[in-house]
Subunit: 219 residues, 2 copies
């Protein structure tokens, strides 16, 4: 699947993976505004001309990178297949909040991604790829909710609407946290914003996941 | 209260109101990146030097503008005082989604505000004022939830956590919508993102507001 997402069909899968992982690290280290092809090349231990050869401009490389995030999300969803819908939902929601060991990447990458999204209204290629990524996040969450309803694990709900709530809440919480947190340190101007991702995750369990399950059951 | 928020205590209230309203219109019309003191002055029908005289730099004016948004939010909360907590909550949540007649301002201003927030990690004065604004939005929502719990209208919940969910969900939905919508037109790259604010608002009624009320009552 990942080869289909790259603009240059000739990039070998393992080189693509390597360069995209380097782009991720470069975004975390330098942010979106200070990202250069040279910095990505340095992260990858490759030449800048190789990057241009495979992806074209920096903007085209970033569109390919958004496609790579799309692939990673799809792989993550696929990895939960066969599990109970409630488990699948909890696992995917957990991936959208900071883990015990990745706080800084969550913040740094969240900040870079938000800077990129802020460009999206003005850059059609970003806008299209971001729209596609986010629509598929909503769709996969909704599919899992529908699966739960069909199996009788979840009560009858509007799956699309519920999925929109789950995604917007965790996405908004991350935005709120990274906007008030100094990217060079761990200082935050607002504890309530810094805690928003974990607080919102807990609230989604209480108000949404447990509500879906509560009135379901084996009927 | 609004005079306390302005950096220059000498700005008369009505001039401050006029200039802040002009800043709002200029942000909607030009976005954050293309906002200039001249454009704000043109919107206000005043001279650029008057703006500099009262507020200093553009950055200082924008911090004052964030303070103005803070005041407007507080006034909005105050206007609901005396109403039932459920009504207060619904009214404030409704203010965070596009109304029937203000779709374009919701989008344009949401976009400008998000651009400003994207600068916040790098500009301490923005970060501090945004942190303050957002913390108070969470606090006021939590106060209303606590009021509902105390009155027996709402069931016992963690008010701060619930407020974080409400705010993050509607804030995230707006971000998702404006990121994929062409600011110069009404075209959107994603219908599910465009609909997110109204969908999320409806889901919050179903999963949160009705849940708060459901197990409450006069006891």
């Amino acid at each position: 699947m990942s080869a289909d997402e790259t603009p240059d069909q000739s990039v070998p899968d393992e080189v693509h993976e390597e360069l995209m992982a380097a782009t991720y690290r470069a975004l975390c280290a330098h942010g979106y505004a200070d990202l250069t092809m040279q910095r990505i090349a340095d992260e990858a231990g490759k030449s800048k001309s190789l990057l241009h050869y495979h992806y074209g401009t920096k903007q085209e490389l970033l569109v390919a990178f958004l496609g790579y995030l799309f692939d990673r999300f799809e792989a993550r969803v696929a990895a939960t297949e066969g599990d109970a819908p409630e488990t699948r939902l909890r696992v995917l929601l957990d991936k959208m909040v900071p883990g015990a060991d990745d706080d800084r990447d969550y913040d740094r990458f969240g900040l870079a991604l938000n800077e990129l999204r802020t460009q999206a209204p003005y850059v059609e290629a970003y806008r299209e790829q971001i729209a596609r990524n986010e629509a598929v996040i909503r769709r996969r969450l909704a599919d899992i909710i529908r699966e739960g309803v069909e199996k009788g694990d979840f009560r009858e709900v509007d799956a699309d609407r519920t999925a929109s709530l789950l995604f917007a809440a965790l996405d908004g919480a991350r935005l709120q946290r990274v906007a008030v947190t100094d990217p060079s340190g761990t200082e935050t101007a607002s504890q309530s914003a810094f805690d928003a991702p974990t607080e919102v995750r807990a609230a989604l369990d209480e108000f949404v996941v447990e509500n879906l399950v509560r009135e379901g059951g084996d009927e």
